[in-house]
Subunit: 335 residues, 2 copies
């Protein structure tokens, strides 16, 4: 058997001819039901149905400039952290009758630029989650597109961010309450806005609590990078490590365990993100949770709103965070 290539799709003209009306009438039947005779409309729709006709979104967009499609770009779609963001964004998009396309920038600035450039004319706007693009570049993107940033704050650009100030305070309070006097921060990629907020918050909270924090790294936010980071923890002779994210934390824990370090007896571990798997591991990971679904929803809602109004006002949001305390943190026992 040899399948044939896709056959030609029915166009508006096919329907018009078949229905014995003009193309514009077919068009109106779909987009402007009020402005066409009820009977005509039903006939047209029936013919369209029979011919399997659906308006070509590309052609429609060419004229109207609108595609009813939104793009959500994430640095690494395989990182479970983004699962919540995606789910939330999808829900909001569906509710508003928009199609959501997802793009994976693969932690690469060039891939992100490329995707924005290629998708730009084909979508009504972007949600850029944890964008790696420099501020300047984002400004340019915002000039050409509707744009909402997730966990990134740039003056003049709408954003939805997690409250890391409060979150890091929760972490520090938690550790301090267990008697820890110092901690290391295992840093992630330097371009990460979240990472810089986390480190800033940690420093400030630590000062308030009378704890000392030191930063090492940067490390890639992956399981694999955990080994190197874990070894740094061991040499640091600290009693607590706060990791850039859960992926790194999971990798750190595995390595520490392999090397005979007990968690949390010898060292407490904290992560960020509360990803799938963070409560599956042993010991279960203490981690700062964001409301990722809410964030995704809020971002898409805001984006749609942006597209609807002509003069845009910047309206940014901060979402709460909360510390999920599990078994990877405990009382300080000076080593």
């Amino acid at each position: 058997m040899s399948p044939t290539p896709p056959r030609r799709r029915a166009t508006i003209l096919d329907v018009a001819k078949e229905a014995g009306v003009a193309a514009s009438t077919v068009s109106r039947s779909f987009t402007n039901p009020g402005r066409v005779n009820q009977v005509t409309r039903e006939h047209v729709l029936a013919v369209a149905q029979r011919l399997g006709y659906a308006p070509n979104p590309m052609a429609r967009a060419l004229e109207s400039g609108r595609t009813d499609t939104l793009a959500l770009l994430v640095p690494d779609i395989t990182n479970p952290y983004f699962a919540g963001v995606i789910k939330g964004a999808e829900r909001a998009a569906a509710r508003a009758g928009r199609t959501l396309v997802l793009g994976d920038t693969q932690e690469s600035v060039t891939t992100e630029e490329e995707l924005v450039r290629r998708l730009g004319p084909a979508v009504d706007g972007f949600v850029l989650s944890a964008s790696r693009l420099p501020d300047r570049e984002l400004q340019r993107v915002a000039e050409l597109n509707n744009l909402v940033l997730l966990n990134r704050a740039i003056p003049g650009i709408t954003g939805v961010v997690a409250d890391f100030a409060s979150g890091t305070r929760q972490i520090v309070d938690h550790l301090a309450s267990h008697g820890h006097r110092s901690a290391v921060f295992l840093a992630g990629p330097p371009e990460s806005w979240s990472g810089s907020r986390r480190w800033a918050g940690l420093q400030e909270a630590a000062e308030t609590a009378g704890m000392t924090v030191r930063r090492v790294g940067p490390y890639s936010p992956t399981l694999e990078a955990g080994a190197a980071a874990a070894d740094a923890v061991i040499t640091s002779s600290t009693t607590a490590a706060v990791c850039h994210n859960d992926m790194l934390a999971l990798g750190v824990m595995r390595r520490l365990l392999d090397r005979g370090v007990r968690i949390p007896d010898d060292v407490s571990i904290v992560g960020f993100d509360n990803i799938f798997g963070s409560d599956l591991c042993t010991p279960a990971l203490t981690t700062l949770a964001e409301h990722t679904q809410d964030a995704g929803e809020r971002a898409v809602d805001t984006l749609i709103h942006l597209g609807l109004q002509r003069s845009r006002t910047e309206q940014s949001w901060q979402l709460p965070t909360h510390l999920v305390v599990r078994a990877s943190t405990g009382p300080c026992r000076i080593r």
Copy 2:
């Protein structure tokens, strides 16, 4: 501050006027570098760059029918199983200079249909992974689009499937070697092609090995559904449970442990997919791994190939599977 709405994008005419050439020359500079003077081309490209011009894919597609964009649809983008598929598909798409958009069908037939309908004219083809659509519907989709199926076999439609016959044999052999005489299969959604292949393979392999297998369910392929499934395992008084997928298996293990059942001492657990997290949990999960990255790559490569040839020949692929033996399976101790 109030950001202005996106300003008008530069068109090919803007570039043409600014560069003092015709639109077609600009077009050729981008798509047909050989057929334009080197100097002219460089000048045009420079002007385009300065104006921030990029060809509008919608307009281009309207003419040529090609968008250089491919769509990959998965039932649940948050299921870590699909991470590998996505990565592989992305790699292949990038290599071929195509843009890949991802769609999440949310395990819903209507969402899947809707996405196919809306994205259809905007992409050069689809990879449908673990599609929930009935055969008939897929036939229709294949008439209108280039289409490659992942883990679904339909005569006349190109597909890439995992070798579940071999995989289930490996599972059964593994269990039998540990002295297990019977097992339950905790089934997933009835529409799941993979699920039906797994069950069929299990039955056949069990017969050969002289084991008995029983099927219970269906269960939703989620962590949450694990509780109900686990309880079924307990009443079944069997020594081994093979779960529809790892998500379900993880949920089952958690519940079993909660109820004081020891794994693998009292009951051995096997999953499918080898997802992220399956080696993080305690005990680590024995599971059948597919080569998901290869599958994603192969699917996209095949899809691109489909688009290039006029008369399509069906060329389907079967990819190997291998059992990853971890701590959740062990010797049978009759309860």
